[in-house]
Symmetry: C3
């Protein structure tokens, strides 16, 4: 069995390698100007002021007609790349959260999956994702793009690339969005943990990120049909497009995969405890930290008014989600449950992500608090219907994604304008159904062909030894 | 006993919820303009340059009379929110440090307390903290403010909000300060770990953050009596106002609470080892990282000269504190003690926090080194007088806070001007006594009414099982 | 034996202390203007707009002739200090990676070494490093500088300090470079883990950082002979100067030190498993995060075009290194090995560091992928020749450093210009040989005098108890 997985994995990895090199062939032709304007490196001694002035004028000149706003653009672009780094660290947050909430014997497997996801996510986003996500020519529904070329060429390194409403360079746009791309697969990773076959998950996550997420994203952020509705679908940083997508895909995968052995017995639900709550807490704090980049970076410039608002609504919604889930878990579960508090905090974050720029601080508090309450009941509900989601990903991302996307219609401030409940429902419906179907098809095809679940013996032994031949903890 | 705690907690949480909604009612009326100026979201295709120019001019126009400095303001505001995120991550640092230096059986409890503190800290700072901290109308001593409204309204989203010396928007000001607010309670959390009753700590920390800290802060940063002294009290980023406040409050709590069972025996002090030094080290590194935001953000703009200086003095003081505590611990304890090295590093950071912008690099080295030496003796001293502080918080924050606040008088550079020893002593005296008294009163009231300490059986069993019904580590 | 170590350590620490104070004496005379221009602190109430304007004009005025670019400079300087903080967090990455990949019984020792390295690295960089690294008067080969003074004085706090190609203040330059300085010693730390004597390592790392690294760096970044070659040596952020230096020094240390007991037996290589893969994964993710500051900060300004490119090439090379090492390890080792995936990711990062600003995205993918493949074979090779490197540091930093430095000649884009293979080989040769020899001499002198390796009993017991008297994990 293990040999089969290896064979599959190997065959497929070779395919990936070939595609990468093929992709390189295509894009190579497009590569011309790289750093525009060229910047001299590391002078030991300060240059003369005159030369300095010339250098600055050269920088400005590189901005063509848009030099008037060069400094605003520079600041905004700086924020974009810092935000990208912050979103990157969310992947460590997801990795440690998932590892902490599952069993010791599957830890290497979980870390491996997460290292894989971010790496292959970045590569495939360069290969096909970016140009699928933001197609130049677009029919509104489906369009697979090719590899990126030199994004600094043809004015891509200047303010003219996106202006005041997308104040970044082409590479800034790419790297920020690339960091988002892997998130959908990461969310699924948590829900299918402790029993999915590694080889299948590597293929599944690659396809989900490379094609599924980018197509759904193109409907909204790529100017597709959701952006073309009479009142366009509103999803600021991705409650639906990112988190909802991941949650709906996770649900389909969990349905096909089935629960972990021993979770649902004739005498009821048997909790399988996470092996390290410090890892889980580290994960949630890092996710909270990274979310400032996720939402804050989605302002798409450093415009001070929106930036301060988005940081504030994001923080307050997280805090309210946490406090609400603590209150609800004390009432319902009769104890202050740490994993509920952690999931409540994340629920608050997912709930505000669609509307972080259009609600006020107290709107954010209510949206987050309701999300934090919902998540407790949702987790209990999915256990009741025997959908085994070890980390609560379907509830946190899927269920609260719906809540956040719809709630903004009611909590938006007067100044921010009005949104259409119908458009929001259409957006949620389209993205969730698409994500569910794509994931379902991938899982069913996988199940029929090589199988998607490890054997009972491997599950009992733990995936670390069964799949990787090494434990996570030695002496 | 556990049931009582739950009842208390539940009752009080309902009160909190009610107040939050009440707060919402009040503030709702104030909510008008939210994002000023409105920024269009995520265009797929770059706009025309002309439109872009119009957009930029609209942004500038939103700054009224202050458009001449829009770009400086934008950069400064960006730094403010990034610094806020860095201060946020200090809360993960505190959580892992505290968890690492205590016993395995209390880890869930410690993580829970820390997730609670940051969440409720953010909410109460929005509810009453911000307007208590920076009162509009002020008698110089006490004033409880109401909830925040729309901080972008009435020019709050422009350079006019604070000018060059507070170059941020209203929301920027709020979120940066809100991240500081919970710090005081976090410091206490470490000192009272492993025996305090969860329900009481949840109430205690809320009140300490919502009222105690914000009132003391208003004396200095809110333009209160410490800012009105002939030579105003100088405390750059809060050696006294934040760290000293927390340390003094911790001392009062430890006095009322008493030491952990078995720590002080007839045959001397029995060390209770921390259960994970990697967690402790992660905590200290994250605190060091976050401190760049704590001190650097306190420049309150991105003014390049002060910013570089503050980063440098902060880093050098931390390094000197660490090296000094290593030297002292080798001499005094006859071994290179890791927990002393970690606490020495933090001691260096606390020692520079009051004067990071007014001393030179070598002044910072000496201030940090002395702090690092002090902390070793202080920790030994508190153990000698049987004040049980599992993580050394009273020494690191309380004792070094005094040192840092006073030392700046002697190490300030000529250019930075002179400070008054008397003003510094008045500031330290006022804040420490106030913090001590508030904490003492809260603890005594708590002790008389519901009790503040878990039972001997619960302490022996560990708070994870006793209070939360779940261990931190399973298989 | 242990007593001897303590005596040594103590004697040497006193020397360090004395030097620090001596350094202070020297520099004190130089300390004059500290914050230029002076910024008022924390006003409670917004000032009048007129005052604000005056304040801004004062800030601009402080920039002398260069006020035209004040805002660009402010943004660039902000990026410099944020990048410094990101490079700082790499030291936590190194600490947790090294701890995770080694045995439980040596964890305190590893954390202690890493806290020591960053602290003493910062101090010695202020004492002699900065002015050795960037000498004013320079013969091209060797020059030891004195302590830093007030770096804001004499226009050091203005754009005139470095102009558009080094758009930061003097303190900005210092703190960013200081964070790099300790890296070389950190790399060695991993390779010599689990058997080196603490006292010796403390001295060794101090000297390596204070003198070795800064001298080698001065050849390239200080305007020394490598910068004076006809086609100057190209090493953007330090594949050779930082990582190669560390790797070569590590090799020399491992040769003198010998392998860990029981690693190489008559029946072959016995793997010694790391005690915590979550710690190792946390380390690699933090290193990836920090590398955005390491490479991105090396742009030395916030120039948008180069910044976006560098973030993109850095991320893609890391991803490609990870995926390539996974493919190779599945083929060669017949399993998907997590530690290889982690080292492959780092290998990709080291491989792009020399040329991150002059290659395109697909050039970066190939450079990273080859690095990721190399590292697997290199680790196996060093085990074959019985060079025991517990974390693979020689392969990751030393071997991939060579690859990255040379490969850029072939992958550079047309726009970025051409580089000389000969210059690259001279640079690699000079730095690697110098690092190797310095490290070899230090280790041989150490071995002859006090000994550099713990006793067999201490190694078997673990360094935590033997050297520090405390375990990393208690109950």
């Amino acid at each position: 069995m293990r040999k089969l997985t290896q064979k599959m994995t190997r065959a497929w990895l070779l395919t990936l390698t070939v595609s990468l090199f093929a992709g390189f062939g295509v894009s190579n032709a497009q590569e011309e100007a790289t750093t525009d304007p060229p910047i001299a490196q590391t002078p030991a001694v300060p240059e003369e002021v005159d030369e300095t002035k010339a250098g600055y004028e050269e920088l400005i000149a590189g901005q063509g007609d848009t030099a008037y706003a060069f400094d605003f653009f520079t600041t905004s672009m700086l924020w974009t790349v810092i935000a990208a780094a912050m979103v990157f660290i969310m992947h460590l947050g997801f990795a440690t959260l998932e590892a902490g909430l599952t069993q010791k014997k599957n830890t290497v497997n979980i870390l491996f999956k997460n290292v894989w996801i971010i790496s292959v996510g970045l590569l495939t986003y360069a290969l096909t994702g970016f140009n699928t996500h933001y197609p130049g020519e677009f029919n509104g529904f489906f369009s697979i793009g090719g590899p990126i070329g030199d994004l600094n060429a043809d004015g891509g390194g200047t303010f003219g690339y996106g202006g005041v409403s997308l104040a970044m360079t082409g590479y800034g746009d790419f790297i920020f969005q690339a960091m988002f791309a892997a998130t959908a697969a990461t969310i699924v990773s948590g829900a299918v943990a402790e029993r999915i076959k590694l080889g299948f998950f590597m293929i599944y996550s690659t396809l989900l990120v490379a094609l599924g997420y980018t197509i759904a994203g193109s409907w909204h952020w790529g100017g597709g049909f959701l952006a073309q509705l009479e009142t366009p679908f509103k999803d600021f940083a991705g409650s639906t497009v990112v988190h909802g997508f991941g949650g709906a895909a996770a649900l389909a995968a969990v349905i096909v995969l089935g629960p972990r052995a021993g979770k649902y017995t004739s005498s009821g639900v048997k909790p399988i405890l996470g092996h390290s709550m410090p890892l889980a807490a580290i994960g949630v704090f890092l996710l909270f930290f990274g979310w400032f980049g996720f939402n804050g970076g989605s302002v798409l410039s450093a415009a001070p008014g929106p930036l301060g608002l988005v940081f504030t609504t994001t923080a307050l919604a997280a805090a309210a989600g946490c406090v609400a889930s603590i209150i609800v878990s004390i009432i319902v579960l009769k104890k202050p449950d740490l994993s509920m508090a952690l999931n409540g905090l994340l629920a608050g974050l997912v709930s505000i992500t669609a509307g972080a720029d259009v609600v006020g601080p107290w709107g954010a508090v209510i949206m987050g608090a309701v999300g934090g309450a919902i998540v407790v009941f949702s987790i209990l509900f999915f256990d009741k219907i025997r959908m085994d989601d070890p980390v609560g990903a379907i509830s946190v991302h899927g269920v609260c994604g719906i809540w956040g996307t719809i709630a903004l219609v009611f909590f938006t401030t007067e100044e921010a304008g009005t949104f259409s409940l119908m458009s929001q429902l259409i957006g949620v419906g389209a993205v969730y159904i698409f994500a569910f179907v794509v994931s379902l098809v991938l899982c069913i095809v996988g199940k029929i062909t090589f199988g998607i679940r490890v054997s009972d013996e491997e599950e009992a032994e733990g995936l670390d030894i069964a799949e990787h031949g090494a434990p996570a903890y030695a002496d």
